[in-house]
Symmetry: C2
Subunit: 143 residues, 2 copies
C-alpha cells in the first residue's frame, strides 16, 4: 500500500479534493497523516471510495454507507440489507422500464397530440393512480 497525496487520490478516484475532505469529515475515509499540511492517504482509500460510489449508485445515503463500515474500517455489510436493496432496485427497474416503453411509444405515436394517444393516456392514468410514481430514495447525480 503506497501513500498518496490528496491530489493524486482526487485525480485517480475522479472526485474533487473538496469531496475527499468532506468524506473525511464525515468519517467515510481516513487520511494516514500529513506531509506539511497536505493529507496523505493509503492507496486502499481508492477501494473504499469505489465502495462508497457503489453504495451511492445503489441508493444508500452517505450516513447509511458510513454505518456499513465496522470500526476497524472493514466493510460489514448486512446481507439482509443487500437483499432488501436489491429488491428495491428491482421494483424501481420495473417502474422505469414501463415508463421507458411508454415514452418510446409516445415519441413514435402518430396521434396529433399526446393527450389523444391511448398509450400516453394510459400512462397518465397509471401515474395518476400511483401505479408508476413510486420512486424510492434519490439516486446520486453524475458529477
Amino acid at each position: 500500500m503506497t501513500e498518496l497525496d490528496i491530489a493524486e487520490v482526487a485525480q485517480r478516484a475522479g472526485v474533487p479534493a473538496s469531496t475527499l475532505r468532506f468524506y473525511e469529515e464525515k468519517g467515510l475515509i481516513a487520511s494516514t497523516g500529513r506531509r506539511g499540511l497536505r493529507r496523505q492517504y493509503d492507496s486502499g482509500v481508492l477501494e473504499r471510495l469505489a465502495l462508497i460510489a457503489l453504495g451511492r449508485t445503489a441508493g444508500f445515503s452517505l450516513d447509511e454507507i458510513a454505518r456499513m463500515f465496522a470500526p476497524d474500517g472493514r466493510p460489514r455489510i448486512d446481507r439482509r440489507v443487500l437483499s432488501a436493496k436489491a429488491e428495491e432496485l428491482d421494483r424501481r427497474i420495473r417502474e422505469l422500464g414501463a415508463l421507458r416503453d411508454s415514452l418510446r411509444h409516445a415519441a413514435a405515436c402518430p396521434a396529433p397530440s399526446h393527450l389523444e394517444c391511448p398509450t400516453f393516456r394510459g400512462l397518465i392514468d397509471a401515474a395518476a393512480s400511483g401505479g408508476v410514481a413510486a420512486p424510492g430514495r434519490r439516486l446520486p447525480e453524475r458529477r
Copy 2:
C-alpha cells in the same frame, strides 16, 4: 369539467395543498378562481398533475416540465425529448440491473467478507472505473 376546491384536488391527487400552491406559483397549474379566499380548480387539473407526476418520475425537473406546456395549456412534448429521455432511462435501467444482480450475489455469496468475494470485487472495480456509477438526474422522492 367540474370545479374543485383545493382540498379536494389535494386529496384526489394525493399531494398536499402546499404543493398545489407551489405549483401554481411556478406556473405549472392554474386555478380558475376563488371562492372567498379558496382556490378553485377545474377538474382537468388532475390530469395535469398526473402529467407532472409522470414527468417527475421520468426525471424531468419542474422547470423542464413547465416548458412542456404550450401557452394555451396543452402539452407540447417534443418527441425528440421523449426519445432522449427514454434512452437515458434505458441506460440507467441497465446500470441498475447490473447493480441489483451484484447486490443479490453479494447477499448470497458465502465468502467470509465481501471483499473476498470475486463478484463483489468485480463490482467495486467496475464502480472504481466508472462502469456502474453513471446516474443521471435525480429522481423524485416519494412523499
